[in-house]
Amino acid sequence: MNDSVLMLTIVAAIGLGTPIVFATVGEILAERSGILNLGVQGMMLVGAVMGFWATFQTGSLWLGVLAAIIAGAALSVIHAFNSVTLRVSQIVSGLALTIFGTGVAIFIGRVGAIPLIGEPSRAVFKPILPDALADLPIVGPLIFGHDALVYLSWIVVAVASFYLFHTRPGLTVRAVGEDPASAEAAGINVSTVRYTHVMIGGALAGLGGAYFSLALVPSWQDNPMGAAGWIAIALVILASWRPWRALWVAYLFGAAGRVGFTLQTLGISIPASLLAMLPFVLAILAMLVLTSGKRARFLGAPAALGIPYFREER
């Protein structure tokens, strides 16, 4: 039963969805504070290469993860500085960050005495629970058969959701994203909140990137992750800025990435390049349906999303 096509597809969807879960939850936190960061793709790639590099140098997966988190957060500071301190267009700054991050990742992968490109990873994330558990019917592969980062992603989702909706600092973030002037009048430092959450978003994006280079595709290529960063940005809207929904939609898109393979095993042949488009077509359709007309109002986008905040504007 654990080898049925459906089961294999679901398990693969969880794997492919996990990096997107990290990145989407990170972007949700940033956007909840009112900052739109289109640099997710760049931050993920830099996380991917730095995570791979650190593991390549030390052999330690967790040092790789740490490096990816630091790299993603460091890159995001540029965006936070641009959009919070300089108050430039967040769209322009975010796009620039993606272009910059993509270049940085390719560059780091190709320099040095032993270039990373083409090298396999010295260590790979593997399932951590005993086979006895993982072999249980149904719940085995669904719940017990994963590597540590999948479980970490579940913790991140649960913590982010609790934080946003059941703690005082979470209320602060939501207020800053809805109405920074009111938040500031209530004694909240808008800049600090925004810097912090853009950086948490960057850290999670970096972590998501490392999942590609240390688990899904454990060798270095210029871009091991396709356009996962862009998918994550779209999923923030589909998840209507809620972490638990982000988990489900990320898995849905993971499944979409797996459909080609599944159809092949079922003997249905559709050109692979058409199927590779599926997640993007799905994203566009979902956005059209969700954001058209009156539905958009019920989505819950933070009201001040993307708008620079000037305190003494008169």
């Binding site: 207020a175 809805e178 009111s182 500031e184 209530a186 004694g187 009201a303």
Partner: protein
């Protein structure tokens, strides 16, 4: 009225020689101000006199360029509103600082260091309910802010400060958004708070309110303090003179003898609001040529939808709009403009004018489609300048600098420009929403003159406003809108602020006042 004991205890707030400027223009200059413990102190002045800036400095939102501030006698510098709140100073801003998507309880908890890290919605709501009951402010703590009326939102603002035990409360034009009845209730609350030993600063430009509620009055003009008087000793006439700097008479309205045929006939109009609810409900009005019909009502009772339904900006789902005998209900906005509808919307920079364009361009916005502004597809730059200069001269629009965007003009001059653009085109109907809102006494008087001049040349005027003074000063006939319906109609001779106020709050006329 209780008098603060200013002799023994140091003042709650004292400012010495405070200056504050924006982009090189003084908003406050050499301001000395003192608030005694337990008093209600009114700050009186025209718009732009520096009242809000002064209070924003005390509340820590702005930092003064120079000067000293003392709180309870101790020299104090606030770096942010957070510092001010921690020291017990809180402000109710004119534009409420409430997060509209959050609940009442969440807004009370926001930024409050005494609320536990783990939020319990239930506990928060319980506390909010308790404090609301203590001050006789019944508000549903689980309601989201956008679901509340403006008056209720203001209560939440005050509760927010009391929840954090602010001892010094600053109220920035609190009555501007209230019905007369709600205003009375607010004044009673203010006295209760002062009697508790809290100190209140009350900003207003309405003399009778200042007379009614305050102990002392500081008058500001052009950023400077021009007077400090005990309210009991102050004559309204003297206060007005101090405020304006000269004697000023508002135009008095002569009843119009020559009311003509119906220009606008609205029958059973139904308009859906943004949230899909019925905002205008089977409403009928007639406005005759040469007549000002005033529509009174508390904001949010369908005024915007009514105006936009007539102008064509919102879809009408029932009923009809007739202009000079022609049914325009299904016509486009442009077709209606061509048939003679002129419209002065409430938000000057939001809907009325294009903030980033020059004054000359804005003046041409409704007529650029034909000569003299354009010939075929080509615009004539010279015409924009020469015609613009003519209008700027004719309508006395001040502060225009060539090439600079119109948003840099003051509120009064923006309004003059907007009205100029609307009335120079051929029109038979003028719809104006709160045309003098936020204007100082001088500009108000000009705008009122313009509207009366329109009426006198035979234009039908529909004046939709929340300002009873404005409505009573201009209207020939008055109606009251409540929840999208007309709930009362009377000629100007029978209208009083009390009668309108009752109707605006939804009480029927039969009830004893």
């Amino acid at each position: 009225m209780s008098q603060g004991a200013h002799s023994q205890t140091p003042p709650a707030v004292e400012l010495r020689d405070m200056d504050k400027s924006f982009y090189g223009v003084f908003a406050n200059q050499d301001v000395n101000f003192s608030l005694a413990v337990g008093e209600v102190h009114a700050l009186l002045g025209e718009n732009g006199a520096g009242k809000s800036t002064l209070c924003s400095v005390i509340a820590g939102l702005y930092r003064p360029d120079s000067g000293e501030m003392f709180i309870d006698g101790a020299p104090t510098v606030f770096k942010s509103p957070k510092d001010a709140l921690a020291a017990g100073v809180g402000m109710v801003y004119q534009h409420f600082r409430l997060v509209s998507n959050l609940t009442v309880a969440e807004n009370l908890a926001l930024g409050n260091p005494e609320v536990s890290m783990r939020l319990s919605q239930k506990e928060l709501e319980e506390e909010a309910r308790e404090i609301g009951e203590k001050y006789d402010f019944p508000v549903d703590p689980s309601a989201r802010i956008w679901q509340l009326s403006v008056g209720q939102q203001q209560r939440v603002e005050i509760l927010k400060l009391l929840y954090r035990d602010a001892r010094i409360l600053i109220l920035d034009e609190p009555t501007a958004v209230l019905t007369p009845l709600e205003g009375e209730a607010l004044f009673r609350t203010m006295r209760v708070l002062a009697d508790e030993g809290r100190s209140l600063i009350f900003i207003s430009h309405k003399l009778h309110e200042v007379k009614q509620v305050s102990d002392r009055v500081t008058v500001l003009r052009e950023g400077r303090v021009v007077g400090l008087v005990e309210t009991a000793d102050a004559e309204p006439r003297d206060l007005a003179r101090m405020m304006v700097g000269k004697d000023l008479e508002l135009p008095t309205r002569d009843p119009n003898e020559s009311i003509g045929d119906p220009t606008l006939v609205v029958e059973d109009l139904v308009v859906q609001g943004d949230r899909g609810l019925t905002a205008v409900n089977s409403l009928s009005i007639t406005v005759n040529a040469g007549e000002v019909v005033g529509i009174a009502g508390v904001s949010g009772n369908g005024q915007r939808e009514l105006a936009q339904g007539i102008v064509g900006l919102m879809k009408v789902t029932g009923g009809s709009v007739n202009l000079e005998g022609t049914d325009v209900t299904s016509m486009s906005v442009l077709q209606r403009i061509k048939r003679g509808i002129a419209y002065v919307p409430q938000s000057r920079l939001g809907m009325g004018l294009a903030p980033g364009l020059t004054t000359e361009d804005n003046l041409a916005l409704k007529q650029y489609r034909g000569p003299p502004y354009s010939h075929g597809p080509l615009l004539s730059a010279g015409a924009f300048e020469s015609r613009g200069a003519e209008l700027i001269e004719e309508f006395d629009i001040r502060g225009v600098r060539p090439g600079l965007p119109i948003r840099l003009l003051s509120g009064g001059n923006l309004q003059k420009a907007l009205i100029a653009r609307e009335v120079v085109q051929d029109h038979c109907l003028l719809i104006a929403r709160s045309p003098t809102r936020g204007l100082d006494v001088g500009a108000t008087s000009t705008v009122r003159d313009q509207i009366l001049a329109e009426r006198d040349r035979g234009i039908a005027v529909l004046l939709i406003s929340e300002d009873l003074d404005e409505l009573l000063a201009l209207s020939d006939r008055l109606m009251v809108i409540y929840e999208g319906e007309i709930v009362g109609e009377m000629p100007a001779s029978e209208a009083t602020a009390e009668r309108l106020g009752l109707l605006m709050s939804g009480s029927s006329e039969e009830q004893p006042a």
